[in-house]
Subunit: 327 residues, 2 copies
DNA sequence: CTGAAAGCGCTAACAG
DNA sequence: CTGTTAGCGCTTTCAG
């Protein structure tokens, strides 16, 4: 590359990074040579020399849950006109895998780490605390962050939903959700939810926890099973919109009046549910916004390394849709 | 690190990589020191020194299309017990962005590149051709691959669906799909489809192309619009299962007999549709399998750098579900 | 505006 | 089994 353009390696480097003053003439010569050779600079060497890596590690459980693609797209958008680029690692909700992925990613010395959740293994927390880059824990604010934190309080989200259901006059409430050990945030919502009911002197009348399979199909199946087991239910709360949609489809299929006879609510506000015969009551998890804010926090710390850690709790909005009676 | 354990840097390196013989005693000492210090080796330096990077670049259009998360999970699974790790880059179906992402990723000298589609800009093709690592173009086999290729023939997939519809006796066929310029594969399916109809002396009776919005809602909307515009349609082919599901919901809502009065078919076989009141006719795109095979091709080339380029066309299976009359 | 020297943190290759 | 010596391909820093 240096020979092909007849200038020093250093000058080539300057041209390709638009750094430092270089005459327009040599500039042109270098660019031509680069194009002719199909030259792709070696970022590994560059990163080693400059100790700057324009990568942001994003560590999330899975892509199956529609939530995360949206968070990611928020992140991508916010980083769009910066130098930084997101790199994703998947944990499958497994702490050991999270540990492995974090180790792997940190060994590339990224400019920032965005990681889902506040619950990590001891080792993971240690790595994150030691990493000399900004760390942002996202999705959840119910706990002690290592550095920055952006999310919603899932406990509060569950509580608000519980309160709305009670206020709307429902009394025999069932719950259908994913198996909890896998998903702390779903569990926190469940806790907030039961607590809200308890305050009104109610208990969960029936509940069901599933794992695996098509969420929509599971929703139908489990709803059917639950209603035949506990026929006097007047409301079902689902841990996400997909199973909720399945439940809705089942009830409509059976000619059951929603929300008069049985009310329904999900969680997330995925735009999928826009197309259903009735709009499911749900609560927005602020996914996109969380991604954006998290990315901005990384950028902020880059500009000012002394910037303080921020904990930002967003407010999820409840939409009653057409499956939860209004009060 | 070297000081803390009292051995040479080299020995540390050997222990941490399980390379070369080291006595169990020093091994232990090094590991302890590493843990105590929270030492995370610098892969940048390692990669530069060894010119080995255990990363596989995966370049796909988007995560919104459910297809890609599944492909990715196939890739992850196949790489699970190798050294390699997938790193994803997004193009948003934009050639310029693909170019940028490829450049960026290639500059990290990955061990392999897996990229969606066979259509790339001149510059992208040149980069890929020059990259000194295995390249696998996935999803599509209708075209000339640069190196390896795994996918299905979308033209053929469209043709088979067209033939099945004709054989089932449908004559007034509509099409609803995404705007084509964005998606070559959808276009190829459309081409194959119209060709199959043409062979039977038929033409598309009506068609509609959308972009953006909730696929399910769009499906309902556009299906309604199309049927009121062209009431004698007896079949609608959708470019994906999500809009197809929206159409199905609309028709059932209207009390229209499916598949007697109007037949429906989608494309992809996403397991979402398992939960619908009727199983939508669809065609499996072999997403997971494509991911797996692609990853294996990268691994194969790693083991034997002289391995020849492979072009692998998988066979999508048609499932008539319950929305396409059987013959 | 351009170049030369030094070194980023590791590993290959060779010696003991 | 362990240590030493050279770089990997860039960028930083300092001289022109």
């Amino acid at each position: 590359m240096s020979e092909a353009s007849g200038v020093s390696e250093m000058t080539v480097s300057r041209v390709l990074r638009n750094k430092g003053d270089v005459s327009e003439a040599t500039r042109e010569r270098v660019r031509e040579a680069a194009k002719a050779l199909g030259y792709v600079p070696n970022k590994i060497a560059g990163a080693l020399a400059s100790s700057r890596v324009n990568l942001v590690a994003v560590v999330i459980p899975s892509f199956k849950n529609l939530v995360f693609p949206e968070v990611l797209s928020g992140i991508s958008e916010a980083l769009e006109d910066s130098e930084l680029q997101p790199v994703v690692g998947l944990t499958d909700y497994l702490p050991e895998k999270e540990e492995k992925v974090l180790f792997e990613m940190l060994s590339w010395r990224p400019s920032g780490v965005i990681v889902a959740g506040l619950e990590h293994s001891e080792a993971s927390r240690a790595m994150l605390a030691r990493a000399d880059c900004p760390v942002v824990e996202i999705m959840d604010t119910d706990g002690e962050p290592i550095d920055n934190c952006v999310g919603i309080s899932h406990r509060r989200a569950g509580r608000i939903m519980g309160e709305s259901i009670v206020e709307a006059g429902y009394r025999r409430v069932g719950f259908i959700g994913t198996k909890m050990p896998l998903d702390y945030r779903a569990r926190k919502r469940f806790e907030g939810f039961t607590r809200a009911l308890a305050k009104a002197g109610l208990e969960i009348a029936d509940s069901e926890f599933y794992s695996g399979g098509s969420a929509l199909a599971k929703g139908r199946e489990l709803t059917q099973a639950m209603l035949s087991r506990t026929p006097d239910l007047d409301f079902i709360y689902y841990s996400n919109d997909m199973i909720g949609a399945g439940g809705l489809i089942h009830l409509l299929d059976q000619g059951i009046d929603v929300p008069g006879q049985v009310g329904l609510a999900g969680f997330n506000g995925v735009d999928l549910i826009d197309g259903l015969p009735q709009r499911l009551a749900t609560m927005d998890a602020c996914r996109r916004q969380i991604g954006e804010r998290a990315a901005r926090l990384v950028l902020a710390r880059q500009e000012d390394p002394s910037a303080e850690a921020v904990k930002e709790e967003l407010t999820p909005t409840l939409s009653t849709g057409e499956t939860l009676l209004r009060t």
